[in-house]
Amino acid sequence: MTVYILCFVLFLVGLYGVLTRRNLIKIAISLSIMEFSIFLILVLIGYIENGIAPILDPGRADQVYVDPLPQAMVLTAIVIGLATTAMLMAIAIRLYRKYKTFDIREIRNLRG
């Protein structure tokens, strides 16, 4: 139970970052941190006590395996995270080239 609480605290740190930070890069960083916490919650859900990694081992017959479904979900979600971060970085560097700053309020004032 404590692990899940710590994961949700990490999620809240990311949420705090997205809502309060003014720097484009730091908003992207806090979005990634939120993603990390959700990946961890998903893998923790699928963990089974003294289960082994989900690679079939024909030698040992009655072996408990960890649940492969959350791992497949997290693998997909990691690549989604990479896609969103790449898009955010593309826009961040473009805005930086135009406004010479990463600060979102500064950009709004300069936009005029």
Partner: protein, 175 residues
Amino acid sequence: MELTISIILGFMIIGAIYALHAKDLLSAVVAMGFVGYGLVVCFLLLKAPDLAIVQIVVETITLVLMIAVVLDSTRDEITVKPDRRAFFQRIAGFIIFAGLLYFFVLAIANLDPLGEHSLRMSESYVNGAAEKTGSVNLVTGVLFDFRAFDTLGEAVILYTAALGVLTLLRMKGKK
């Protein structure tokens, strides 16, 4: 098991808080890298080798992209003197987050604790998986056969992101 992961999570939370409050952008990006690699260790502890490989490589590539953006920019941030109003905002935010955490704990109170996960849908992914999909690696079996539609969507997402970055970074938008 739960203790080790909690310790790693503690360090990750400290790293995350530092990443948000770091004065220098580059050290913020490095702190994010630290949180990502902490996640890799958690995946290995939770018996998920597939995810550890993907996460460590994707994290490195994300760091390369972020540092490429941050490296030649002004790395100092416009720091605003926290006046009284920001102080109250911080307290209000803290109270709201404490409430969210309390509801989260209430919500997951009687769900299965760590380790006692019972299978239902993925039971047939594990028993007899070798005959059904022929793949020894169960995660690849789920990804490329049982739920191949997700992986097709996944490849399309990365393709869209590459197309989007190409579109966003072209020099001239309008003729």
